[in-house]
Symmetry: C2
Subunit: 437 residues, 2 copies
């Protein structure tokens, strides 16, 4: 594999001290970051490939800690409809979701993520093996779980069939370099106790993540209070599935005791600020979580909820919404938000030893944000520029495991026209069904 | 002047019925929209220029109802610092703001707005004549006012000198085709009653806008309650400056009675959702205002507050923040947000007879949003795509008064490199001062 040297970049290392190296240099060898420093490194190496960052900002690849990537074919459908999940999404999925849709949706969404600087994503959906194959082929890192629910699903003739699928799926992918299989019960309110426990047993057996929506819905909170006099988080602890294997998405309806429990059990947190806001679900206490040094990263949720799959948009929202809700403009300054988008996300999925910062020995998952575009100047504070000014069009170069996937804002190995054509075919079928809804 | 025909676009007319014309055609003659319809129009005209919209979305040019464009040289400086206005911005301005900075900042910011599909902006700052000259030259429509304050300002050796400047400025620009001069007292709490009244007298004399920050600050609300037992809005009414000449920015701290007053007096409203959120100022009751059929448009505020100067980012924020605060995901659906960004903005500045919708007889201020980029597909609802998925990089073509200013995402008549160089020179000077702060 070629050695690569990146020069002329302003490196936000996102290491413990948040060191910034201006006119920085990174040397990449055998898929990993082999050296990080200033221009003095230029004389030390004879790389196969040199990338001139043109005074851009080099950041660790961003982590999308929660999505349903294959839902891209449904994007912009029924965005402003109340109680959409049960009235709209579940029926649509039942009628339309098959292997082909999952494959096409995954391709499209993964391409979107790569172009936006997301190098690792956490996904749960149906036919998840299709997502895994596409992710592997496109070169993105994926933490992927098959959805388990208590009703008949697109790829399950009986309730809870997802559990059997998961066993097969995990065996198939458990030794892969890029794909980390998980197990993904949809939510506490769509799984009974015994199946939640079985799912966690599986996660523990292989030491893989259990991905689940937790405390997203107000009715979920009320239900557990009425039925058990427990919060959803306390209930999960009570049945023994609250531990470090869990990646909990949303956590909107949680109290201070829940936070203590989640911290103690080292649960990973996927904070989906945009989707939660658009869905009027409420606000996850992300600032408190951050200040308690919990494992919190950012997620987009699926494209029917969060629409775009990039983390840059979420960074812009995190600051604004939490400052506003807490009436404190100094809360969660930009550097802490970039932290959530990178090393925070890595911590949320327990991969912080491998990804999430620009340090020697870590996997070379890297993103160069260009600073030539009009929205990116002037820069007094790199973090503020990323959080308050950048958008996805500023992503210039993206690398996963030391492989350059995006160069000059274009995918190197993918024909986007072809992928868009496939998406539009599927869209035609969806339109036929939607007309009848 | 050349006649222009735009074809192969999906037209969001933003007329009263919100008509949408797919595969639409617009014919432009003498700076105005001369015809709007479907493909049948293709045979009717022999235009000088034909623009193929390539299945993009054609919308009225967006209106930025509130900014301080010349503050672009300060962008990304001190974003997360509390009580910034008095501790940070005012001192910095006093030391640094001169004609040159205003000119360079205006150039840079106006270029940014044009590239982002903003065709009309409302601005208040110092040396506003420099802004007017730059706006005129670059071809953007501007409603511009010189700031009037009760202290020594960058261009005023004595308090309230801005009033004299305004008289001269208004006389200079009052008959211009593109620039609408206004008068701009900074805020009720930085102007005494007599000067607020004098400013409004001037606005009435010429029938031009009076631009002012109103009810933005919590201390402002408390001060008027204590001093007069009135809200800031009631106070303005009490002293006779609440009327249709007023464009009031922010209106965060207002009660239901204030809304009735504002509606009755036909006050224009600039809703700066992003800047208000980031500054932890609170939430303007924009949904209520919209439902009361008030004159509400969107604004960015200055680039030290709102950072980017585009309205697309604000559209994305409006939905999320108001749905969240009102716990209703169906509140302010995407079409109503696009309305605020276009015809709503035009109403806020009392130009709705001339701009803000795609109707015969209106000025040809138009924007084509391309739909080829990965974030823009699939489309089931054009409005949702614009509000929940689009970003500034999707702006393809921008026209003001029938003159094409942006084509294929590039400015036709401006050297962006040159403008960026000027900005970086100014940034160097700012850095010297900031070090000493």
């Amino acid at each position: 594999m070629s050695t690569i040297l990146i020069k002329n970049v302003n490196i936000l290392t996102m290491n413990k001290d948040k060191d910034i190296i201006e006119k920085g240099v990174v040397f990449i060898k055998d898929e990993k970051i082999a050296d990080v420093g200033n221009e003095a490194l230029l004389d030390r190496y004879s790389p196969d490939i040199i990338i001139d960052g043109e005074d851009g900002i080099l950041i660790p690849g961003m982590v999308n800690t929660h999505t349903h990537v294959s839902m891209t074919p449904f994007r912009s459908l029924g965005d402003d409809i109340p109680d959409r999940l049960k009235k709209y999404i579940f029926p649509l999925e039942k009628m339309l979701v098959d292997k082909e849709l999952v494959k096409v949706g995954a391709k499209y969404g993964i391409v979107e993520m790569l172009l936006a600087g997301v190098t690792t994503f956490v996904d749960m959906y149906y036919f998840e093996d299709e997502v895994a194959k596409v992710a592997k082929k496109l070169g993105i890192r994926g933490v992927l779980g098959e959805t388990i629910v208590n009703f008949v699903a697109p790829d399950a003739k009986e309730p809870y069939e997802g559990l059997e699928y998961s066993k097969w799926f995990i065996e198939k992918w458990k030794d892969d370099h890029l794909i980390i299989p998980g197990v993904a019960p949809h939510a506490p309110y769509t799984n009974d106790t015994i199946h939640l426990q079985k799912a966690m047993d599986l996660a523990k057996k292989y030491d893989i993540p259990m991905i689940m929506h937790v405390a997203e819905m107000d009715y979920e909170y009320r239900q557990y209070k009425e039925e058990y006099n427990l919060t959803p988080v306390q209930y999960l602890d009570h049945i023994g599935v609250l531990n470090k294997n869990l990646i909990a998405a949303h956590l909107v309806h949680v109290n201070d005791e829940d936070l203590e429990l989640l911290k103690k059990k080292e649960v990973g947190i996927a904070h989906n600020v945009g989707a939660n806001a658009k869905g009027a679900k409420g606000v996850c206490p992300a600032a408190k979580m951050y200040h308690k040094d919990m494992r919190i990263g950012l997620g987009t949720d699926g494209p029917m909820s969060g629409n775009t799959l990039d983390i840059i948009t979420q960074m812009g929202l995190v600051g604004k919404i939490h400052k506003l809700f807490n009436k404190d403009r100094s809360l969660l300054p930009a550097s802490e938000i970039v932290e959530m988008a990178t090393i925070g996300g890595a911590k949320a999925i327990h991969l912080e030893k491998e990804i999430g910062s620009i340090e020697v020995g870590k996997k070379a998952d890297l993103v160069i944000m260009e600073t030539q575009s009009i929205n990116m100047q002037p820069i007094y504070d790199y973090y503020a520029t990323l959080v308050y000014s950048a958008n996805t069009s500023n992503v210039d170069t993206v690398m996963v495991d030391g492989k350059i996937l995006v160069e000059n804002k274009k995918l190197k190995y993918v024909d986007v026209m072809e992928i868009t054509k496939d998406l539009k075919n599927i869209q035609g079928k969806i339109l036929e069904i939607v007309k009848k809804l």
